[in-house]
């Protein structure tokens, strides 16, 4: 197992190199970073532009340029952003922290309620409860986040203020303007609406995964064997049913979490929530090469990592799978 993990980690290095090279190519061809720099800094001197080209590896030769960028990236010589000459790492780190916080909260809430709803639906397929859960899940999936976000903002901020004099949840940011330091309560209040929006999607999706997975398991022969033992329904459901039904769901969940690190672009944008999604939108809009490349590296690395986690958890849950 350990050898498998080490080998997978070793393999992820060339994968990461290849994908970052492709991303580098795409950004060079698609956004022309040097032109973007000149556009944002119209009065930059020739020497400044050359310095920008050198540190970012923007040589005319793409391959040479990529390796130059790679060397600087690994040794920590990161160029500042083209707009405002901000340092990239602190900005990226904050964005990651914000997205991880939002993503984790939404995933935990979403999967927890999603699984419960799925199990409740599968216990009596075709029953009234099943129909209700299924319909709700369908509605949840069908309403895009930019609609549900605006509806919730209207309800909890605009109308709430009209009815009770004060809005319940703020509609943008992580903290009120001018706030400094850490305040858990305030933070949760600001996170509430975006978390709900993302969680609705997750609940809807996972209740359906869980329902169909559990229904498959419920009809299998070993469930009949379990029932023929005369053990309690609860034990049959948990030890035999859920234990098997969760295997595919956990695998999908691990993959989904990997892509959440990429930012919840729409939700973060609507709530002006400074996470990875908003970071990407802004830097991409400016053609800010120094900001974009490290973002890409983080995204690719997290997807590779969570793919590995999905495989490991699959093998861990299912004894038939052995990682070699």
């Amino acid at each position: 197992m350990l050898r498998y993990i080490l080998r997978r980690l070793a393999w992820s290095v060339p994968t990461l190199l290849l994908v970052t090279f492709l991303v580098y190519l795409a950004l060079r061809i698609g956004t022309d970073p040097v032109e973007s720099y000149k556009r944002v800094n119209p009065r930059a001197s020739r020497a400044k532009i050359q310095q920008y080209i050198d540190i970012n590896g923007l040589d005319p030769n793409f391959v040479q340029g990529y390796f130059k960028w790679l060397k600087n990236f690994i040794t920590g010589e990161w160029a500042p952003s083209i707009k405002g000459r901000r340092e990239v790492w602190p900005a990226l780190k904050d964005a990651m922290a914000n997205t991880l916080r939002l993503g984790t909260a939404a995933t935990v809430v979403g999967i927890f309620f999603g699984l419960i709803a799925g199990v409740l639906a599968a216990l009596r397929p075709g029953g009234r409860r099943d129909v209700f859960i299924n319909t709700s899940a369908f509605v949840g999936i069908s309403i895009p986040p930019f609609i549900s976000a605006i509806l919730l903002q209207l309800l909890f901020a605009v109308y709430w203020q009209r009815w009770f004099g004060e809005s319940l949840f703020p509609t943008s940011g992580v903290y009120p303007a001018g706030h400094s330091g850490f305040d858990l309560f305030l933070m949760l209040k600001f996170m509430a609406l975006p978390t709900i929006i993302v969680a609705i999607q997750i609940i809807a999706t996972y209740s359906r995964y869980m329902r169909s997975s559990l229904l498959d398991v419920m009809n299998s022969d070993y469930m009949r064997t379990a029932r023929s033992k005369g053990i309690s329904e609860r034990r049959i459901l948990i030890k035999h049913g859920m234990r098997n039904a969760l295997i595919p769901v956990v695998t999908i969940a691990a993959l989904d979490v990997g892509s959440i690190v990429g930012g919840l672009i729409i939700t973060e944008n609507i709530f002006a929530y400074p996470g990875m999604g908003l970071y990407f939108l802004k830097s991409f809009g400016d053609g800010d090469f120094p900001l974009l490349m490290p973002w890409m590296v983080v995204i690719v690395a997290s997807i590779l990592l969570f793919n590995l986690i999905a495989d490991i958890s699959y093998a861990w849950l299912d004894p038939r799978i052995r990682l070699e």
């Binding site: 299998s220 022969d221 070993y222 009949r224 064997t225 379990a226 029932r227 023929s228 033992k229 005369g230 053990i231 309690s232 329904e233 030890k239 035999h240 234990r243 098997n244 295997i247 849950l317 299912d318 004894p319 038939r320």
Partner: protein, 326 residues
């Protein structure tokens, strides 16, 4: 006559289907005596599995079950879920057709056996594990203490069926229902599994109900046979009587269609099994029966004694003696 451990009287099982109610079992009477091996034979859809799933209380809730099933004097039809849980696995247990899917893939073999033990006996988990290993030994699994720690996918089909048997006999039940236990297995493995079942029957005095469509299997191990057709029993008796002088035309047909050394051609039963949503009136076998008369089309025959057998055929006495062995 030995003590009856299982008495089934007038058992009916009906399923609601989109094309109307389907009566899969239409009034079965059947006794199982203590320690005997009763063969139940019939083709697919004859209601043999459904009858015993109903006895176990394992049919889905939409199945309507009426009649009487007495297990050691205890009425099982209409019993509470709790009562049925206490019976299942303790007095009555079941082996299923496909050993490849009957075991839970994610739990260790030993745990699947000890779960059965601990659900009906107060045992420490250590004692249950020890007993599980003994049971694996009883059903003929080599190195039982190592094998107990393995998962089902590490076992062959025959070995898995042995494990299923070990689970079923863990609490020394009065009746063991084996539903086509050898159908999914290779012929050589079939014989081994039948041997294990016979050994269990002899060693623990367990009554065994062996459900199968394979008369060869029945002939090898059963003491008595019950033949089912279209949800009813059509003939029953001891193995020798039934195989030597079958009186019901369906039983004759079954035996005539068996391959035997020296026999030139097999003689199949013509026609098809009835559609159970709309079974034939009268004797359900009449459309396929070469001896059928007009009475057979209107009157539903019940079991009556005929020689050493009980036969549900009104013409049994008039029919020429069956000549099966030539």
């Amino acid at each position: 006559m030995a003590e009856k451990v299982l008495e089934i009287r007038d058992l009916h099982v009906t399923f609601d289907t989109p094309s109307g109610p389907l009566e899969a079992v239409r009034g079965i009477d059947l006794d199982v005596e203590a320690g005997e091996l009763l063969g139940v034979v019939g083709e697919s859809g004859s209601g043999k599995s459904v009858s015993f799933l109903a006895t176990m209380g394992l049919l889905p809730a939409r199945a309507r079950v009426t009649g009487s099933v007495l297990l050691a004097g205890e009425q099982l039809i209409g019993a509470s879920a709790k009562q049925m849980r206490s019976v299942r696995g303790r007095l009555l247990s079941m082996i299923f057709q496909d050993p490849l899917s009957a075991l839970n893939p994610v739990h260790r073999i030993g745990n699947q056996i000890s779960e059965m033990l601990r659900s009906h006996q107060s045992l420490s988990s250590r004692d249950a594990d020890k007993r599980a290993i003994e049971l694996l030994d009883i059903v003929g699994i080599p190195q039982p203490s190592d094998r107990a720690r393995q998962y089902p996918h590490e076992f062959s089909g025959g070995m898995r069926q042995r494990v299923v048997i070990a689970i079923a006999i863990a609490n020394n039940p009065k009746v063991l229902i084996a539903d086509e236990p050898t159908t999914a297995l290779d012929v050589t493995v079939q014989a081994q599994i039948l041997e294990v079942i016979e050994r269990v029957q002899e060693r623990f005095g367990t009554a065994v109900v062996l459900i199968t469509h394979d008369l060869g299997v029945i002939a090898r191990v059963a003491d008595r046979v019950n033949v089912m057709y279209a949800g009813r029993n059509v003939e029953q008796g001891t193995i020798d009587n039934l195989f030597d002088h079958p009186s019901h035309p369906y039983t004759r047909g079954l035996l005539a269609s068996l391959p035997r050394p020296g026999k030139q051609r097999l003689k199949p039963i013509t026609g098809f099994p009835p559609n159970m949503v709309n079974p034939p009136k009268g004797c359900a076998f009449h459309p396929r029966c070469e001896f059928a008369t007009d009475v057979c089309k209107s009157e539903l025959p019940s079991l009556v004694s005929y020689g050493d057998l009980q036969t549900a055929c009104i013409r049994a006495k008039e029919l020429p003696k069956a000549v099966i062995l030539t």
